[in-house]
Symmetry: C2
């Protein structure tokens, strides 16, 4: 995918100038200079400091304008108030990319925010792209280049790229990576993102041939729809795994519907990552555990896992871990069992998990692995073992590595222990084979490979947009519920507003009895709560009494509410009732909800979310992940309902919500679902237009 040319100097500059380079080893400006020189960067390095002098055998210029060619990237570490001027000089000097490490901007309050606006204005004036401010810089271990000011050592070269909103997390990740035996390809600390943000970095980093997986630490996403579009393209080539923090920011919003109450930032992020094909990690540890497997393993064809071990306990632990993550223990063919029997002792367990017993030799490990990988019923393998009593774990590792390298199926290894297994761990790491200490983490790595396959499908799916031409002019008022649902082809129970008992009887004769009466008031959300709904009224007398009763109940329950009269609606045949709603998410646009309808939506929480417009895959997932959706296919004496009609309404409402961001919330509750092939009817609809 194409890389914005203005971002190229960040990763491949011809010359770098460090503005704020320092002699003083306790200063970050020294650390940055030292890291850049030590990184073995092959371009030209220049130093600038108003005090001048010499550093690491090179002159320090007092001004950017003095710096000779080539220079196309500035790394800036001077106090915030001086940066605007320095950037102006960069602009005059022709430098169009700058990394601003210095803090003292938006993160410290209003005064800093003003300085940040100022540097952004200068940058725009001179067409300079900015990373930061308030970041630790970026590095590429293969070019190589290191513009961070972190204490050495930097990361070892590798294939995991890391993009982070937190500089402190970058520092931790570099150290974790070293300890956990994987290398980084590129790392970018984005800081305050005055200019370049997480989405901008996706294409340039994915473009790096050494990068095999992108890991993201995100505190938010600036432009949700653009992120989704860029990420969808990247994940076709390389997996992305993201940790999104800041889940519990609290704060109650004013909402007008069940959907509004239940849909939140987190459900939107979940849906967005799924739509973009991005794996979502729950913890930093999980993100890098899984990133290694994503970088190093071939793609998996399915969920069936063969487990090979030398004891019962590790086998059952592995089986538990796999099954709790939705993976399956593979069933071996007769040929596999026979082949295993040929090399293992009689007391060994030949079924999955294969327990070779404590006496298992390194050769038995290797040969058993080869045998199970040959079984067409096996998609993946896990080897799990504590140090064997008679051999070293290292000998086992050496024996299995060639088998794993020649396999076209993913293999992960859980070496149980810590000190006795160091040799094994070092061999596996050097061979780029994902190794873990615990069954659960090895299983989670396999689960990530399976998830990666599923997410590729989500990312490639296309939205379903059933409405090609709107039935009415686009000038309808979006607050007019009936006309907009009608325009999008969503069947409603026709409703008429009666302002007297006589009118109610007239309308009932028009729509056909029996009818439902409902209080008409824009201020009463939950009508049945105030006695504002009467069902199944089949004759004139009942309608007259009902009309009076409803007005009385509603007035006594909500004395200040404006009551316009009573809505008269044909009584829809009974059927399963579901809720379908949409709310606008500030980052990602229209978010859809589906689930069990009625008045107890928030209590039951039998709901699922997705982003509008919906793909078939996502809509199917929403239905199948709720009881309301699964039940549509029929359950015991409940006959199958018109599930296709539900999907159709879901797609139509999603399209409506995506087309009309001015609709803050819209909710059908209930959508009455009639028996198979008989359709579904929006019985009650609520709409809230943005102020």
């Amino acid at each position: 995918m194409p890389v914005d040319p203005s971002l190229i100097p960040f990763f491949n500059p011809h010359g770098v100038v460090i503005i704020g380079a320092s002699h003083d080893p306790s200063k970050l400006g020294y650390g940055l200079a030292n890291n850049l020189i030590r990184s073995n960067y092959q371009g030209v390095v220049h130093f600038v400091n108003i005090k001048g002098g010499e550093l690491l055998g090179q002159p320090i210029y007092t001004n950017v304008l003095e710096v000779p060619n080539p220079v196309d990237l500035a790394a800036v570490l001077i106090p915030a108030p001086f940066i605007a001027d320095a950037l102006r000089q960069c602009g005059q000097r022709g430098i169009q990319a700058a990394i601003i490490g210095s803090g003292g901007f938006r993160e410290i309050g209003a005064e800093g925010a003003k300085l940040e606006e100022e540097i952004l204005e200068v940058a725009q004036q001179y067409r300079i792209r900015l990373i930061g401010p308030n970041c630790i810089g970026l590095l590429d271990t293969h070019l190589p280049i290191d513009t961070t000011f972190l204490p050495p050592p930097g990361p070892t070269p590798g294939d995991v790229a890391f993009i982070s909103h937190s500089g402190a997390i970058c520092a931790a990740v570099i150290d974790w990576a070293r300890g956990q035996g994987y290398g980084l390809s590129r790392l970018v600390s984005l800081g305050n993102q005055a200019d370049v943000n997480e989405t901008d970095m996706l294409a340039p980093i994915a473009d790096d041939p050494y990068t095999r997986v992108l890991a993201l630490y995100l505190e938010g996403i600036k432009d949700g729809r653009r992120f989704i579009e860029q990420a969808r393209q990247v994940v076709r080539e390389k997996p992305i795994i993201a940790l999104k923090v800041g889940r519990f920011e609290g704060g109650q919003r004013a909402v007008a519907s069940h959907t509004g109450a239940l849909a939140g930032q987190e459900s939107a992020y979940d849906a967005a990552f799924r739509r973009a094909g991005v794996l979502r990690a729950e913890t930093s540890e999980e993100m890098f555990d899984q990133a290694r497997a994503l970088a190093w393993c071939p793609p998996t064809e399915g969920r069936r896992v063969a487990v090979i071990t030398n004891a019962g306990g590790p086998g059952v632990t592995a089986a538990d871990a796999l099954e709790s993550l939705g993976l399956e223990l593979a069933e071996f063919s007769g040929a596999t069992n026979a082949a295993l029997a040929g090399i293992l002792p009689p007391a060994a367990s030949l079924h999955n998990p294969v327990d070779m017993l404590a006496s298992a030799t390194p050769d038995q490990f290797a040969e058993s692995l080869r045998i199970v990988l040959d079984d067409p019923g096996v998609d993946n393998a896990m080897i799990i073992f504590p140090t064997p009593p008679m051999f070293t774990a290292g000998a086992v590792a050496k024996a299995i590595i060639p088998v794993i390298h020649s396999a076209v199926k993913p293999v992960v290894v859980a070496v149980m222990g810590e000190r006795l297994i160091q040799e094994a761990v070092e061999h596996l790491r050097a061979a780029r084979i994902p190794e873990y200490r615990f069954a659960e983490r090895a299983a989670a790595a396999l689960a990530a490979l399976v998830k990666r396959g599923e997410l590729l499908e989500y990312a490639q799916a296309e939205p379903v947009t059933p409405v090609q031409t709107l039935k009415v002019s686009e000038t309808f008022r979006v607050s007019d519920v009936d006309s907009i649902l009608d325009a999008y082809g969503i069947p409603t129970a026709k409703m008429e507003l009666a302002q007297s008992a006589d009118e109610a009887v007239n309308f009932a004769n028009q729509v056909g009895m029996p009818v439902v009466l409902k209080v008409a008031s824009p201020e009463i959300s939950h009508k049945s709560d105030v006695g504002g709904v009467l069902l199944n009224l089949g004759d004139e007398a009942a309608i007259r009494t009902g009309y009076k009763e409803i007005l009385e109940s509603a007035r006594s329950a909500s004395p200040r509410a404006e009551i316009q009269g009573v809505h008269v609606q044909r009584m829809i045949p009974s059927g399963q009732e579901v809720i379908i709603g949409a709310v606008q998410d500030p980052q990602f646009g229209a978010q859809m909800m589906f689930g069990s309808g009625g008045t107890e939506v928030e209590g039951l929480k039998d709901i699922a979310f997705g982003l509008a417009p919906l793909t078939m895959l996502e809509a199917e997932r929403m239905l199948e992940s709720t009881w309301a959706g699964r039940k549509l296919k029929g359950f015991r004496n409940l006959p199958p309902a018109d599930r296709d009609a539900v999907l159709d309404v879901l797609f139509r409402l999603a399209q409506l919500a995506a087309d009309h961001p001015e609709i803050a919330e819209i909710e059908i509750n209930p959508l009455r679902v009639l028996p198979k092939s008989q359709g579904a009817v929006a019985v009650d609809v609520r709409i809230q237009v943005a102020n």
Copy 2:
């Protein structure tokens, strides 16, 4: 708590004989002899091997009978077929405790099982207590003694005890413990548990003054009720944390009720651990992460946590981790904020999480910690930091250790990184302060402390037994639903069996119209599925038609079912419908279920489980963890229901199920709950007596 005297020799023998001691370093019998000698065991060590000779400077006897005094423990590692004889000689020699490491017993099939029975018979004959067979032995690092045959090094002395059903897991745990910087006090590998099992070991291990926490790896529990009783006593003094594996053993059971379909081994283990006050870990890693905190931290008074950090990213990560585990960010007092402001720079964040900024000094870490621990609104603290750019992590660790040691509140530390933080980690481990690499694991350790407090209350609660004297003679047949519910004081909708339409009308006049008609057939479980239920019949004609209709529907739906007639029942006023059921669990006895009633119980899965008889704490938890239970307090237009009546029925059914293990399943569905103070009525009840 009292320790069975027959088990004392295992941990405090005067003399140990190794039967099967070997010269050959590749044999386990050599490893065992070597470990015992190297362990610095202060009693007398004897060796036996039919070949005789000398080993490690001591004579090898050819027979146990030749071994001189003192000797009261045998560690046996000879082939399975010779063990019965060796045990007989032990018995003759007066040795009444033996650890049998050898395999070749029940784990290899029928032949081995026979050998196992044989050794057990010998043991019983001579009153010898057995650990094993097929185990790796046991050790005590403080006595010290080591009767395992694992390759050295053994564990360092510490305060975590480990009881395991898997020898391989013991080997891994010893190695993990070393690498993760905690020591073990005692370790027991139980093997096949021919005699001594997990429950037997609780009291002797808890009795060890060096043990501060017991960690259990369990593949099952032999005598569930006894385990609960023993564990309940142990946890008053020392926490127990258990990993129960083998969750997914599959296999469908024949069940007659929703409760039977939904209650399973795992829900029973969950309820049993809660009743026993035992923490349940999900993974081995979690078990030992949390065991360290349980061993080393003071008890916590609550869920409010203060977080201290030097950067934004770690702070938000910590906040997420805490909140997702149900902990809370403490709100600081004004005094705390003022004190923090006095020592931190102006740009620092004084609110929780406290972000001291990257410039934070070791002294600022220590002083900030002291300040937040002094706040009465803080129950616990977490310090989280990557290596500070200007200081070492070790310097921070040294500064905070004295503050943590003098604190009466728990403090956990997340030091982010791996290689750069080794010095910090070593200081913290030496000071016995729980340290982790990631926020989530540190948060989980604090959550375990909170859970420990809650579980103590569960363990100490007493069962509620509302039924003091049964209303009828205990000779009622348990299959007679009405009489047994009546005996336990559970209100039912009186039901009469009509065998003709005339009888149905007569009964309707007796119980009072309107009535409900239900097909009477022991073979039809879900009556409404076959058209076997008609509601609200208010006159003779309707009852006559209904009687006919029900028989026809039921016969056509279930042509082979025995149909006894139609039950006539008073129509109970409407109200919320819940399900209350009980099934017998093979390990733990009667297991109770509460939740949303009706026909969709398995679909909705709004259910909770507990063991009978129930405590008030457990019953309240069952109600509050389901929507059905929470809704009883009222919801929107739903008025409060008679929640007390639900609790009363729950306790009564629990008592009934506990009293009558011959009832395999009993289920009230629905229990109709009337408005507050008006009671609850069992509308339909199903009972299944064990064959």
